[in-house]
Amino acid sequence: MAAPPGLPPPEELLKKAEEYLKELEKGPWPSHVSEMRKTGYPLYVYGVGLVARKSPWGPSVVKTKRLTGVLARIARDWVPGGGEEVHFRVFNTPGKFYPTDYLRKLIKISREYGVGLIEAVGQTGAIVINLKSKDVADKMIDALREIGTDVGGSGDAIREFNACVGPALCEFALYDTLRWFSEFKKDKRVHDAIAVPGLPYKFKIKFSGCPMDCARANRADLGFIGVWKGAPEVDQELLRKKIEAGEVDPKKLEADCPSGAITWDGKELKIDGTRCKKSMHCIRTAFPAIKPGKERRVAVLVGGGTKGRYGPKFGWFVGYLKPDEVKKAIDLTFKVIEPWDKEAPAKNRIGDYILMEGLYKFIEKAGIDLEDTPKLIEKLPDNVPYRVLSEAERVKFAEFAEKVKQMVKV
């Protein structure tokens, strides 16, 4: 970007930048500037950017042995003194747990080859480490490999996955998100798609253990959310105890249910499984007296994302998997990617492609055939008042009529 009009001369600019930075160090909230003062990050460049109200960084390149996960910037020509900034996206551990010995190793690498600055979590889910200079890039990769992690996940590739904490710390997890996270990464095809950018645009995969969606799988290109079918399980005995102890107010539970599925008759709490929208409200309030149902599933969503041709959107539901079908999920990933990779123009997210093709066409092209996959043919007759029915369909309704006849006993 060009220099903004009316930029003060270099010395005055730097002085003003310092004033701005000092201002950002005040206040009760932890300050990023005070943190960066302790590191070798070229802070004056950031300050100049604040004064100019323009990003001080321009594009740059660095040659390493990695094709993804390496990003380099160079200061614009109007920044006095110039400067460069190189950073790596480093893979996170499952659940983002950091044993202190592992953390100390990361810190050591960050001090030795980097400027001592770490972004603990980026929105992709990766950890970001700033480098000292371009020359140490390969050395840093070797050091990171030694402690069991690596660099990757940027550009038009599969990005770092994001999984919620799942069964490691949460009682609501409906499937093992961390196991899925690691099984996905163990797959060779996934590995290749992370290492080499070859897709039309980025592709993000996220795993959420329950409908509360802490990992934000709703806006992933491919999201997996734990759900159950039918009504939540109610342990009437335990619930009565909880009500007597004053922990749960059944009337309030009934009134607050967003789907209106709960009825309380003074003795028993009943939940209508057909109406239940899985909002988790009763479960959160009365756990473990009310638990998610036994019939666990993983809902698959395709096509969410923020950055893309048509703007921010949520994913489309394309079917259920069972909690142990992780291998099937990996196959599904590449089924979903295939038509998009082949046909979509560059820089179009999979959601944009689905919008152009139509969801049913996309499902057909990708060959998605899961439990409850939406299909155009399966539209209910009440949506289309009159139409030509196939023989098989008419037989189905004839059978239905026969059944009703038996029931009503005409």
Binding site: P30, S34, N92, Y102, L117, T306, K307
Partner: protein, 378 residues
């Protein structure tokens, strides 16, 4: 396929602390001990306490601070900590005394403890001017300014009706986590981008090829979702021009080519409210545009802080307990909410349409067919 062999940290067991390994998948209950401390109870009877600590905006921490965190985790915790997607850090320990001790220690270092239940859970920001070349406002310092003003909501000094989370993004790419959240602050160009003619040729085919290639094959024309970027013949030369009336400030051209520039005086932020990812209440939805443009004046951003605080206060004072901002707006209605906030009533269509529908239905590049499914329908 490739010669690159990446090493992934995939061994779940290796990174979990012992106490969590023993109780993996066996949790039955949780209890809250003030803001930021949560007790997980396992069916084996063991208890784990997590302490949620806010990190600086953009989760930028120095190695020195992380080392201090590691020391605290070793001394009072179980030798491990966890980083959350929301950019907070959670210390893990096995007793309430130790949890309180951790709280005391990190507060001494200047990091507030809070979050959970009816509180601000954290402020996510994109990298802003720290590394990004596309950002139009510095989301990181906006995050800092908001944090300073909203700290009481985080630590629980002022309780809120329900969970609140704020994302601050430097441009419409919304890298801080999209706009599906209670309050999203998104950097806006304010005016159509200016083209830097001296850099533009780098993003286009050579002039001779440009004269021959059909317009729809030019990359920059392809990526513009509204067809604002087109080729024009001017004095025997083919030029790329930007029709500013068609531009919707999505920033996709800037994403892909460095030739697009802006004037800082036009730049501001949009404030979007009432989004959510979770299926609680009436389900996930994207936030709605409340204020399309506000000035962004570093380093204090008084205007943005004031508006955000005003919105939170209206919600806090009028909402029922447990009602998130989205549910609150649903209950009272968007018109009433606008009246309570007192923003000028805007009749432009984009205030009422979700972003996606706006770009998808209203605009298209030349020659582009939207929804092939319709065209090919039998």
């Amino acid at each position: 396929m490739s010669a690159i062999e990446l090493i992934f940290p995939v061994d779940v067991e290796k990174y979990l602390p012992e106490i969590i390994k023993r109780n993996y998948g066996k949790w039955v209950d949780r209890k809250f001990h003030g803001n930021g401390i949560i007790e997980h109870i396992s069916e084996t009877g063991e208890r784990v306490f997590t302490v949620k600590v806010a990190l600086p905006p953009n989760a930028r921490v120095s190695a020195d601070t992380l080392e201090k965190f590691a020391d605290i985790a070793d001394k009072y915790g179980v030798g491990a900590l966890r980083i959350t997607t929301a950019g907070n850090v959670e210390f893990i320990t096995d007793s309430l005394e130790k949890a309180l001790k951790i709280k005391e220690e990190v507060e001494k270092l200047g990091f507030p403890v809070g979050g959970w239940r009816g509180a601000l859970w954290g402020i996510n920001t994109c990298t802003g001017f720290l590394t990004c070349q596309i950002a139009v406002v510095d989301a990181v310092s906006i995050g800092k300014a908001l944090g300073d003003a909203l700290k009481p909501y985080f630590t629980g000094e002022i309780p809120l009706p329900a969970k609140l989370r704020i994302y601050v993004s430097g441009c419409p790419s919304a890298c801080a986590g999209g706009i599906g959240i209670d309050i999203a602050i998104v950097g806006m160009w304010g005016a159509a981008p200016k083209i830097r003619e001296e850099v533009l040729p780098l993003c286009l085919p050579p002039p001779k090829a440009l004269a021959k290639v059909p317009e729809t094959q030019i990359f920059l024309v392809q990526i513009c979702p509204t067809g604002a970027l087109t080729l024009r013949r001017e004095g025997g030369k083919i030029k790329l021009v930007l029709i500013s009336e068609k531009c919707i400030n999505c920033g996709r051209c800037k994403d892909n080519c460095d030739a697009f520039d802006y004037d800082p005086k036009d730049v501001g932020v949009a404030i979007l409210v009432g989004g959510r990812m979770s299926n609680t209440g009436s389900g996930p939805r994207l936030a709605r545009n409340l204020v399309p443009w506000l000035p962004a004046n570093p380093p204090k951003y008084e205007e943005i802080v004031a508006v955000v605080k005003h919105v939170i206060e209206i919600w806090r004072q009028n909402a029922k307990p447990g009602e998130r901002l989205a549910d609150f707006i649903d209950r009272i209605g968007w018109a009433k909410f606008l009246e309570l906030v007192g923003v000028p009533r805007i009749t432009a269509e984009y205030m009422y349409w979700p972003d996606i529908a706006r770009t998808y239905l209203l605009y298209r590049s030349r020659g582009e067919i939207i929804f092939r499914g319709l065209r090919d329908a039998p």
